[in-house]
Amino acid sequence: MKIKEIQEEIVEEFAMFEDWMQRYEYMIDLGKSLPLIAAEYKTDDNIIKGCQSKVWVHADLEADKLVFTADSDAIITKGIIAILIRAFSNQKPLDIIEADTQFIDEIGLKEHLSATRANGLVSMIKQIKLYAVAYQTQLS
């Protein structure tokens, strides 16, 4: 599936819930199924700055697609990163670079996060895009 289609799917899923407690329950479930980062990449260098809980993200190039793995010490944060990984993992670097992140606003996620977590979300997206830029440079 294309990034745009996955994003639409996520927006639809979130719209089905009646309140934010249910959405959080769903995010916690997503967090539990997050593709975990290998221990060797769980280093201080891979910690995303701007998050108050610790977040590690790693990207591997498999064929021409980027595969993301991640982890966090907070479960809701894991849920947030799981949503991002679902949208951006297994995609070509160029598509990731060009993808917009409007769906985050459509879910209403940002406004329901504390300011520190919302900053963290922005940092996570930035990190994912940076990986894409780095690998794109390598590919071209």
Partner: protein, 406 residues
């Protein structure tokens, strides 16, 4: 007030009527900022509606009125903390500003080889200025350690004190743990070796009345926003002899006696430390907040908050896997806790969705978190306008969050 009528008191606080995320607000972040009663809000509105003017300068009526009210508030603050003179009360923007005035001023007295002691449970605002002072002067910063309960090891304090000790800094009450520190003993022992003492009273002022003369403390700092007053205003209390010796912190209007391009002579106390147009309305409202608190009575407030603390501690400890950090014998109504295997941010996030405001994180006291080897805690801090029912809502909320998160 014969009996503590919390329902009646709550009516004074308009914010307590609001809803958050569709639920009635349960405000348990009082150690960060207390809420403001209508009586104080009215004073703020009255100031801007009727006599907003710059103080100490104008000859006109409004300026005179504003000056009178601002100086009357200073006297109220002086009386409340039993300072010897009103000019020993310096208006500041809050505790952090107050501490920086002293830390900056001491640069002129401190030299290489001198030692500065801070307690292990300080807020960053009471660590960083002293580190900066040490960097500037070559003095050494030493730490008074604490035990697992969150109590200072007074034997270690005795051992650290020496003729090289020039300054001792300690909070009266820890913001992260709620510990009430034995400041009278700390001050007395520091004075015995000739060291000056600054006590950060930010967390103590809402719960008890510190007597400057009885304590014989050299410096004491308070923020109005933790004691039912507005944000952006506070005080530095300093003994006259110290304030006279300390150089001014900022240059500007109000702090001068005479200015020429060759030389400026500084104004006397308190104006020497009050450069520029101050938070006039804030100072006046600070006085009104003290009036409000005193009308309820600090003894009644402390007794009631202690009941809340005991009840909340008992109920929270019934939750499996819950651990409280800071179990000092002497503590105020602050409970820092974690649930085993759950990140404090996660609990705080779910509690927020339930309308419950708590603080999560390191509470600007990272050394304490390092001491306990944890990333942070959830902190519920209770004020005299909180109720047992709100404690129950918190406990139910924590249980619900735990069920979701574990």
């Amino acid at each position: 007030m014969a009996m503590f009528e919390v329902t009646k008191i709550r009516e004074d606080f308009p914010i307590l009527k609001r809803e958050v995320n569709g639920k009635p607000l349960v405000y348990l972040d009082n150690a960060a900022t207390s809420q403001t009663p209508q009586q104080v809000i009215d004073v703020i509105v009255d100031y801007y509606s009727n006599y907003n003017a710059n103080i100490h300068r104008g000859v006109h009526a409004l300026s005179q009125e504003a000056t009178d009210k601002y100086e009357q508030a200073r006297q109220k603050i002086q009386k409340h903390f039993n300072a010897k003179n009103a000019y020993e009360i310096i208006y500041t923007s809050g505790t952090t500003h107050s501490i920086n005035i002293v830390a900056n001023g001491f640069s002129s007295f401190i030299k290489k080889g001198d030692e500065i002691l801070v307690s292990a449970m300080e807020h960053h605002s009471n660590i960083v200025p002293w580190q900066m002072l040490c960097e500037r002067t070559g003095a050494t910063l030493k730490v008074i350690p604490m035990n697992l309960e969150g109590e200072l090891l007074m034997g270690e304090y005795d051992a650290l004190l020496s003729k090289s000790t020039k300054l001792v800094f300690c909070n009266h009450i820890s913001n992260a743990l709620g510990t009430i520190n034995p400041i009278a003993e700390i001050i007395e022992k520091a004075h015995a070796v000739g060291a000056a003492v600054l006590i950060d009273g930010a967390q103590a002022a809402p719960h008890l009345v510190a007597d400057m003369q009885a304590l014989d403390v050299d410096f004491y700092t308070v923020s109005a926003h933790k004691i039912c007053g507005p944000t952006g205003v506070g005080i530095l209390y300093g003994k006259e002899e110290w304030l006279t010796k300390l150089p001014p912190y900022q240059g500007g209007g109000e702090m001068i006696a005479e200015v020429s391009f060759e030389k400026t002579t500084y104004a006397g106390l308190p104006h020497k430390f009050e450069a520029g147009t101050p938070n006039i309305c804030g100072g006046i409202a600070f006085g009104a907040a003290l009036d409000y608190m005193n009308q309820i009575g600090f003894k009644a407030i402390a007794d009631y908050e202690h009941q809340l603390l005991e009840y909340a501690t008992e109920e929270l400890l019934k939750i499996e896997g819950l651990k409280i950090y800071g179990t000092a014998q002497q503590k105020t109504s602050v409970i820092s806790f974690n649930i085993q295997g759950v990140h404090p941010y996660d609990i705080g996030t779910i509690l927020d969705k339930l309308g419950i405001a708590v603080r999560t994180g390191h509470h600007c006291a990272q050394p304490i978190m390092d001491f306990y080897k944890i990333p942070g805690t959830v902190r519920a801090s209770f004020s005299f306008y909180n109720t047992k029912e709100e404690v129950d809502i918190l406990v139910t909320g924590v249980k619900r969050a735990t069920a979701m998160l574990v």
